[in-house]
């Protein structure tokens, strides 16, 4: 046996101790991994904060032209004109202002709908997932019915019934968000419910509602938040679609969808009327998606 021992033995016998072995993975690679991870979170997050700032704070700091009216004299100005840094539309309305005020509407609708979805959908979904028995099948069927309609069609129908306005659009979109979030809450609750510590809590006599809010909710939240961010992107696109069809926010109130629709008429000659709001919309939704992805990575949601 002795003949087969590697040479290292002789050396280490004399050394008697072992120094910590040098690092194999380069420090540079580790540092880059850390930086990239932080960037993936803060770049989209930063963009969203910037957009929020521009839409809601900037108009109060710096006065901008109105977004719903303009003088014919200033019609059709190209970008970088004095006083209208993104130009004006064929009616003389300032494009940047339209983006800002349209953005306000989109943000408001998107946040309101998501909030309603999370709260109402959350309660319903957790109830269905936790209590089971007859509550679950009944609620699930109701959600299935709502989800059976293609999103746009459902929203169109409801908006049609209620009449076009921001509030009504929020109601209509909530018919999408409530079942959507309810499903996510329900699925996560079903999983969380199996955990041993939940059984322990029930055995120790904790009331059901306390279990739901103190134990199940914190576990369900990461998945819901990441889903919520992606869902917000979908809501913005659908809301834009309704406006695009002329069945949502009515002119002269500005909205990104309506801007794109109006731009259709002059697409051949002046594509920027379509391009500018489309790009802003794209950036907004992409930031939401990227942020959702980064959070999902950080919180380990599957």
């Amino acid at each position: 046996m002795a003949a087969q021992l590697p040479d290292m033995t002789a050396a280490t016998l004399t050394a008697g101790a072992q120094d910590p072995l040098p690092s194999l993975v380069s420090a540079g690679r580790l540092r880059w991994q850390r930086i990239a991870r932080a960037l993936r979170l803060w770049v989209p997050g930063g963009i969203l904060i910037l957009l929020l700032f521009v839409c809601f704070v900037w108009p109060h700091i710096y006065s901008i032209p109105p977004g719903d009216s303009g003088s014919i004299l200033a019609a059709g100005e190209p970008p970088f004109s004095p006083g209208h840094w993104l130009g004006t539309d064929p009616n003389g309305v300032d494009i940047f202002s339209m983006l800002v005020y349209g953005g306000q509407v989109s943000f408001e609708i998107c946040l309101a709908v998501t909030a309603i979805g999370m709260i109402v959908g959350g309660v319903l979904g957790m109830t269905a997932g936790y209590f089971g028995s007859w509550v679950d099948p009944v609620l699930s069927r109701v959600f299935d019915v709502l989800i059976a309609f293609p999103a746009l069609v459902l929203v169109l129908a409801i908006a049609e019934v209620l009449g076009p306005s921001e509030m009504h659009l929020i109601w209509a979109l909530s018919f999408l968000s409530v079942p959507g979030f309810a499903r996510i809450f329900r699925a996560s609750t079903l999983v969380a419910r199996q955990q041993p510590y939940i059984t322990a809590a029930r055995l120790s006599g904790t009331s059901n509602w306390k279990i739901i809010f103190k134990h199940i909710l914190p576990n369900v939240l990461p998945g819901v938040v990441t889903f919520g961010l992606l869902f917000m992107g979908i809501i913005v696109i659908i809301e834009g679609a309704v406006d695009f069809l002329g069945l949502g926010i009515q002119i002269p109130q500005p909205s990104w969808g309506a801007m794109i629709a109006k731009g259709q008429n002059v697409l051949t000659a002046q594509p920027e009327y379509v391009l500018i709001p489309s790009i802003v919309l794209l950036i907004f939704v992409m930031s939401l998606n990227l942020l959702g992805d980064a959070l999902r990575e950080r919180w380990g949601v599957r």
Partner: protein, 345 residues
């Protein structure tokens, strides 16, 4: 059935009932039956909701049809003809009864039956959606497999970036951009197409841009999910490590082992997405003036043609429910674990 079993059947009639019992007890069929049963209340709910929402629209349909100058008498007469003066539940029953016989009612605007109206416009939409689906699925699988070959490699990163774009873009915005680049600037495709033309070539030319507008977001979803599934299989599943330990070349491991198992997820995803697919048609068709039922729906909404809207919305919802059901069934039936019954242990 294996030859041995067939022979046994002929010799032993008792075996026939045994097989019947085994089929009836087969977990796959039981699941199928159960799924079908749960679909029924959903379908009923769908018809009810459609009817309710449509009938809450303010304004008297008879008045809208006859116009502003209609006399009250004419309105009342049309009301009676259309059956609008009956109570709500009676009208719902009548409609539901018609549905069960396959009759979707008469359109207000052109007095045609809704069935024939839908039949007229459905084919265009079907071709459009088929085109979008096939191309996005094919590209999605190819890109996903190539990307999964080396996670975080060049191909993977590019595909993730492109699919992020596809997930974030609004289909209507994309449609207009495509029109600008390929129609206005390059002239490769027509901007609007009132019909699909007589030859496959004109049809493809007419449908390519709209199919791309619908297909690009779809492609993004498929690529993402399939790639994630394949990578997960490759990294987490033990049978993949076993296959590698056998010395199987990486491509074969990827395609024969991992992708095969991931395709289940993809097929389920496709079936679940049928509803979104149809919804997209409603917004893309008007942009290109395609004569499909999506465009027809928007028209019908704008002129308040109730039966037409109801009929089309119902068709949409039915397809979505069917898609979900199909996804459920495929998942159950295709999985060999369920097909062959419980394990021998």
């Amino acid at each position: 059935m294996a030859l041995a079993q067939q022979v046994q059947l002929q010799r032993d009639p008792g075996a026939r009932s045994d097989i019947a019992r085994r089929v009836a007890g087969s977990p796959a069929l039981q699941l199928v039956g159960r799924r079908l049963l749960t679909a029924i209340p959903v379908l009923l709910g769908v018809t009810f909701l459609t009817f309710v929402v449509m009938n809450l629209i303010p304004g008297n349909p008879a008045q809208l049809i006859l116009g502003i100058n209609a006399t009250p008498g004419a309105i009342a007469k049309l009301d009676a003809t259309l059956g609008l003066n009956h109570p709500f539940w009676d009208r719902y029953w009548l409609w539901l009864d018609g549905l069960l016989h396959g009759n979707l009612g008469i359109s207000y605007s052109n007095q045609q039956s809704v069935n024939s109206d839908i039949a007229q416009f459905l084919p265009t939409t079907c071709w459009l959606l088929l085109y979008a689906l096939v191309v996005s699925l094919f590209l999605g699988v190819v890109v996903a497999v190539l990307a999964a070959r080396r996670p975080n490699g060049i191909v993977d990163r590019i595909s993730l970036a492109i699919s992020m774009l596809g997930l974030s873009v609004a289909p209507y915005a994309l449609a207009l951009v495509l029109i600008y680049v390929f129609s206005v600037r390059l002239g490769w495709f027509p901007t609007i197409s009132n019909s699909l033309g007589n030859s496959p070539l004109t049809a493809i030319r007419a449908l390519t841009l709209p199919a791309a507008s619908i297909g690009f977001p779809l492609f993004a979803v498929y690529t993402r999910i399939l790639r994630a599934d394949i990578v997960e299989q490759m990294q987490r599943e033990d049978y993949i490590v076993t296959a590698k330990a056998k010395g199987v070349p990486p491509w074969r491991v990827l395609v024969v082992h991992a992708t095969r198992n991931s395709l289940f997820t993809l097929i389920t995803l496709v079936a679940l997405n049928l509803g979104t697919l149809i919804g997209a048609a409603a917004i893309i068709e008007p942009i290109f003036s395609l004569p499909g039922i999506g465009a027809e729906l928007i028209n019908a909404i704008n002129i308040n043609d109730l039966p037409l809207v109801e009929g089309i919305v119902l068709v949409f919802a039915l397809v979505t429910v069917a898609g979900n059901l199909l996804a459920d069934l495929m998942y159950t039936v295709l999985d060999p674990r369920i097909r062959y019954g419980r394990a021998a242990s």
